[in-house]
Symmetry: D2
Subunit: 202 residues, 4 copies
């Protein structure tokens, strides 16, 4: 019988963390975020997503799903991302709420009249203060000292290692997938209808 | 009080899925994967990671963590990924086990003597059959019909939408983060030691 | 005085190659490509770009410029790339015209009624045969044996090294930037007008 | 006979620009850059590449070629980029020399004792002043006002459109490919030898 004690402990801790998410996430914050996304949908506004490192990967997984739902969505830093304007929406993801390029992106978006939703563990962080709306997702234990992501990569700095260091990203992935489920519901999309759309090409 | 019923249901389903992962994942499979990773570490061998779409994002999150642990790790399709050779390791992630570029990558790796670990929901899939070792992570309900990822993107085909369609990716992210925790344990790395390494630059 | 003979020779060869491009590129082929792009613009159709390795980088540089001109443009393999349909346009770049994922992308696009323009050195290549229209850009000396890009990366295979191996990419970059210049002219866009658009945000 | 006047003019201007590069690039600067790269090779040091937007794409094309030559090379912002230390090398590309993330990366690299080579049109720019060594590649006409790349993307700001706006990137691509040719020469690598290495896997 293999001894995978640290593996088992991490799996248990992550599972316990995900189980507590439902109580930890404020439904008023969720409702407001959903409202802002539904408005972006109705008005054909752009939804930009930004995040650095693993938060950036989680953000891209969300953007993929938004695109599948028919949103006009882009990821900051990718090739074809257009400029935004009034009432476009930026979803800015940073556990610490201090990552320089994410805060700068939020400030730039505000400057042109776009709305900013911050997803962060710290409601008093610079990112949260810049945002129009904040959804607190727990999991990040402390803030980083170096706020510039490229500099952090060059300096070899990263969040504490697993399992503690990844709670925020896993929490955010689970949270955002649940947001997608609610959007599907509200947009009246069903798997079946979407399959019908695809059937035309098969 | 906001009504976020579909959000709540998705969160509950994802949480229940993660809670069952510990029983669902075979520890013999985990142990063998850990052994192969430890060997790659000891011999300074390369660990390549490959996946398409959201599985690719989860794979990249894993590669980041391997790199933080000091592995020589690369992601197939990125800029600086080198060729591999005998006893290098390819971690190939595909829920359905049928994604064309992932299966082709596994076959190419085997051809030059590299070892392949498949992470998939389907132990009888083409990917699993190509691999030296398979770890089954549940979550993908059915296999895709179109196996070429770029073609699928062009055809607008994607896995069923949330919450069902994302169980495999979330399961794999949680699984791989737990693998990182066990590797940290086995490599004798502690957060503290790693901080000490970083302290020299602060 | 430094001796940089190989540097000087490469620079001279690249310069001579670029100087000959104007004669080498068929204006009827250019005109037809411009017509297809103008149609995509007029009808609000999507322009997808696909390429592997360095050709993929050149393709992305083109997509950036198309986006700046206001095209609805995406890069195959990036996060938010939507499916395409009838009369959307795929620009497929492959020097050899044999790269597997690029040919597969071209075939998928044709299947759903999208138009395909191949940019390649080989007018008889599989890619060229799949395409609705071919623009021949010289520079690639021979075709690759392994057609799957991910496999080629894993196998450590790449085009011959500089300067010979990069003529196609440099030729394509110069060619596509000249296409942008002509599109600007035809769309009646001037630097000045575009600056005026930006002035509102400064 | 098609009228592609703007296309022809752009092609002519780009060709004339490339033809003048050989005189425009200072061979002492080239020699010093080659020396720094050869030292990185000899000592097994890391060569990081950083750039934003189209300069980033050109940087990645260079990194691919360095990797093919056997350098330990990475691109800042990609998944598996490690931290650097004393005598590692950062190649920082920015036409204006003001792009925020590139300058920040250069500063971070200096802080840990890595060497920085700036590729820029402006020898008095912030990037050039941060660098250990500067190679001036002409082509960028003026400096940007907004220095944060992500902010520029969000604000829809970009360099002037073709052909003027792309001279720096094309010049840098031609320049860096010529650097690769000289490195091949100095490292005694020939196409033939490298093919022999590949033959073992075919």
């Amino acid at each position: 019988m293999p001894n995978t004690k640290a593996f088992d402990a991490a799996l248990a801790e992550l599972s316990s963390f995900v189980a507590k998410l439902s109580n930890a996430i404020d439904r008023e914050q969720v409702e407001k975020m959903l409202g802002m996304l539904m408005e972006a949908w109705s008005w054909g506004k752009i939804v930009l997503v930004v995040g650095a490192g693993r938060s950036g990967l989680v953000g891209r997984a969300f953007a993929m799903r938004l695109m599948h739902l028919g949103f006009r969505t882009y990821v900051v830093g990718e090739t074809v991302t257009p400029g935004v304007g009034p009432n476009d929406l930026l979803i800015a993801i940073s556990g610490s709420g201090t990552t320089g390029i994410v805060v700068a992106a939020a400030e730039a978006a505000r400057r042109v009249g776009a709305k900013v939703i911050a997803i962060t563990s710290f409601p008093d962080s610079p990112l949260a203060k810049t945002a129009d709306h904040v959804v607190v997702v727990p999991g990040r234990a402390k803030t980083s000292e170096e706020t510039d992501y490229f500099s952090r990569q060059i300096l070899g700095m990263h969040e504490p290692l697993a399992p503690l260091g990844t709670l925020f990203e896993i929490g955010t992935m689970v949270f955002l997938d649940s947001i997608i489920a609610e959007l599907m519901h509200r947009l009246g999309k069903t798997e079946k209808e979407m399959k019908a759309r695809h059937a035309t090409i098969e």
